[in-house]
């Protein structure tokens, strides 16, 4: 008696049976816009990103490198208890902030009000910010459980569209794409912002 074929072998064999002879190859036309024409971080892209974020009911604060510390401080004033990832740039975190070294429990994260992070990249056209778990962004739970997310976006991280955005990412890292705060339209298609993820998204956009 031979052993029965594994599900893997059988499914792959079924696919081969179904496809039969394969001679033709499929050409993929990629004449959609792969680059946006606008230079990374240009004023028009920052305008577009701001417009999209506001449309999603996120709050946007503009800052220059000179007044960044003051803008961040004013945003943090009403932020309550703050948690920050361990690799946040020096001087960003308020003195009383809890630093996540990877050992905080979900209950402890649930007890803080706000998380403050940096980001990896942003796409203006869709108002999307991406986190990739780098030390200045932290593990995913840190930006998920607290009710308010303050995210600092630098102008040189802002590209136009989705193709350029994906081009900047490492697919092997855990990635979170954020386009506005959590929302649902499940009840009569009426949009309600803030369900399970952070109910408030505050973006500090830094440019010269």
């Amino acid at each position: 008696m031979s052993t029965p074929p594994s599900a893997r072998d059988e499914i792959l064999a079924r696919i081969r049976t179904s496809l039969g002879d394969r001679t033709s190859t499929v050409e993929i036309p990629r004449d959609y816009h792969r680059t946006g024409g606008s230079p990374v971080g240009s004023p028009e892209l920052l305008e577009l990103l701001t417009d999209r974020l506001v449309d999603y009911k996120a709050t946007v604060h503009r800052a220059t490198p000179a007044d960044f510390a003051a803008v961040l401080a004013s945003v943090l004033e009403s932020a309550g208890r703050v948690v920050v990832p361990a690799g946040l740039p020096d001087g960003w975190a308020p003195p009383a902030a809890v630093v996540d070294d990877g050992s905080l429990s979900w209950a402890e994260l649930d007890a803080v009000d706000t998380v403050l992070t940096s980001c990896t990249a942003a796409a203006a056209e869709t108002g999307t910010i991406v986190l990739d778990g780098s030390p200045d962004q932290g593990r995913r739970a840190v930006t998920l459980i607290p009710d308010r997310h303050i995210c600092v976006v630098r102008a040189d991280q802002v590209v136009r569209g989705v193709p350029e955005l994906l081009g900047r990412l490492d697919p092997r890292r855990p990635l979170t794409f954020i386009s506005g705060p959590s929302a649902t339209s499940d009840i009569e298609l009426q949009r309600v912002e803030g369900v399970h993820g952070p109910r408030k998204l505050i973006v500090v956009l830094v440019s010269d």
Binding site: S2, S6, A7, D9, E10, I11, L12, A13, R14, I15, R16, T17, S18, L19, R22, T25, V26, I28, P29, R30, D31, Y32, H33, Y56, G102, W106, A123, E125, T126, G127, T128, R140, A141, L144, G161, V162, P163, L166, P171, R172, R173, P174, L175, T176, F177, S179, G180, S182, A183, T184, D186, I187, E188, L189, Q190, V192, G194, V195, H196, G197
Partner: protein, 491 residues
């Protein structure tokens, strides 16, 4: 030792999951059409999404190029599906995940149940997933004493209402706010008795109901919107954050995915992440998209399992015309533009996959004879093809499946069909002027069936098959020949 041919494509498991309704489409649609509340809810919802979709699609001047690219990527995926799946398995495994293969629903449910049991957990949190409904996973887990909590708001409404989903994207599209309030008040433990029917209040009730579950869950089960073969990356697209909760907080994550849902390369995602949100919710981008590759040390579930499911997909792949249905990315744009769906609703299709795409996908997954009425559940108006972000030619597949059904039926039933008997009789009648005159005069007697309605609602068998879905006009009081005789006289 018998030699069994390995690799014969098979249909989905019968008797398990949600691909077969109890009634035919016309029967079920008749019930749905008699419900004015349902029709109001559906009309409002589909109209709203249609308008939103059109607005955001018209923002992109390269929409047609994106559709063409999406169509080609899916065709390329199917042409080398075996290679891409093997690559996906290799990449996921190399990054610390475990890949399982399931020939059908029964096998998938067994694998997942055993994985949950191995953790010692007696409950799981779930991200909205079509495929777990397709295989009836919640019922299978329940039989094993494991509670499955749906966490998407609409899925929660459906689950608490002991109901079934009626739309791919908005499963509770058939419920309005006051119905949802009643369900929550009745079924949600510890809910505020003063809950109003304001959508915000209802959403916040769901938030507090699920919060404790998220923070304590040990095991999550998800579907996947995409998987990237070359990197092993899984993608879940969502809005509420319940997906992020399930994909991030538990120790163990089990993802179930149909074998057709992968794309070959990372670059390919740049097409689908534009096509999907604009087509489905009518948004430029959905609020949250999560991507993960195997296990990330110190971040998210440290035990990751991917279950790759056939359950009839290889049988769909075997049909050179019908296989295009596997290109579907479950956006539900075709539902929202379909005049039949808008009136009949999702339940009438008897399958977790309703609407135009369901009418071509479901019968192919189960075998056409088991869902023979679905390919006819369409007016062939073509709106679904125009709306489809990957250009699936649904009307052509519908016609193809109708032909397949007729051929398979004829091959199986040696007896001639009522239609061919009628045609034979007509030929005999029409070949003689005397016989033709007699029959047309006699047909006048049929007027008695119409009574005063002016049309015939039902005929006796075998013609009842025709009148089950159509009325027959009354025969005229006077035949053409009689009229000719009366007005022109005999010359």
């Amino acid at each position: 030792m018998s030699q069994v041919f390995l690799g014969m494509p098979a249909h989905s498991s019968p008797g398990v999951g949600a691909l077969r309704g109890d009634q035919t489409f016309p029967q079920a649609a008749r019930t749905a059409l008699a419900d004015p509340q349902l029709r109001r809810n559906l009309g409002h919802a589909t109209g709203t999404i249609r308008a939103k979709r059109l607005a955001v699609v018209s923002e992109l001047d390269d929409w047609e190029q994106l559709r063409l690219a999406g169509q080609a990527i899916k065709a390329a995926t199917m042409a080398r599906l075996d290679d891409h799946l093997a690559r996906l398995e290799q990449e996921v495994t190399a990054r610390g995940g475990t890949v399982h293969w399931a020939r059908d629903a029964v096998e998938a449910n067994r694998i997942i149940t055993e994985l949950v049991q191995a953790t010692g957990a007696d409950e799981v949190v779930k991200v909205k997933s079509m495929v777990t409904q397709e295989i009836g996973l919640n019922e299978a887990l329940e039989q094993a004493g494991i509670a499955a909590w749906e966490t998407d708001l609409a899925e929660l409404i459906v689950q608490l209402g002991h109901d079934t989903p009626s739309h791919i994207l908005v499963p509770a599209i058939h419920r309005n706010r006051s119905e949802i309030r009643e369900i929550f008040l009745r079924e949600m433990p510890g809910v505020d008795p003063d809950l109003t029917d304001e959508p915000r209040r209802l959403a916040m009730a769901a938030r507090s109901h699920l919060r404790r579950k998220f923070l304590s869950a040990k095991v999550a089960v998800s579907g996947a919107n995409f998987a990237v073969a070359e990197t092993g990356t899984l993608v879940v697209v969502e809005s509420e954050g319940n997906g992020r909760m399930c994909l991030t907080l538990p120790d163990t994550l089990i993802t179930v995915m149909g074998i057709e849902k992968l794309v070959p390369t990372w670059t390919d995602l740049e097409v689908f992440l534009q096509l999907l949100p604009r087509s489905s919710t009518g948004e430029r981008m959905n609020p949250y998209t999560s991507m993960w590759t195997g296990v990330s040390p110190g971040d998210g579930p440290q035990d990751f399992h991917l279950v790759l499911l056939d359950n009839g997909r290889t049988a769909v792949l075997a049909d050179e015309v019908g296989r295009e249905a596997l290109h579907c990315i479950r956006c539900s744009a075709c539902l929202n533009v379909c005049p039949v769906y808008e009136r009949a609703g999702g339940h009438a299709y008897g399958s977790v996959y309703p609407g135009p795409i369901g009418a071509v996908l479901t019968p192919q997954l189960t075998g056409v004879e088991q869902n023979a009425s679905l390919p006819y559940a369409s007016t062939l108006c073509g709106a679904c093809f125009d709306a489809c972000p990957v250009r699936i030619d649904i009307p052509s597949i519908l016609v193809h499946l109708r032909a397949r059904h007729v051929e398979e039926y004829a091959a199986e039933h040696r007896l001639p069909s009522a239609e061919s008997l009628a045609m034979g009789a007509a030929a005999w009648v029409m070949s003689s002027a005397r016989r033709f005159g007699f029959v047309t005069r006699t047909a006048r007697l049929g007027r008695v069936l119409g009574r005063r309605r002016g049309r015939i609602r039902s005929l006796p068998p075998p013609a009842s098959a025709w009148t089950a879905t159509r009325d027959v006009p009354l025969p005229p009081t006077e035949t053409f020949r009689e009229w000719w005789l009366r007005t022109r006289g005999e010359s």
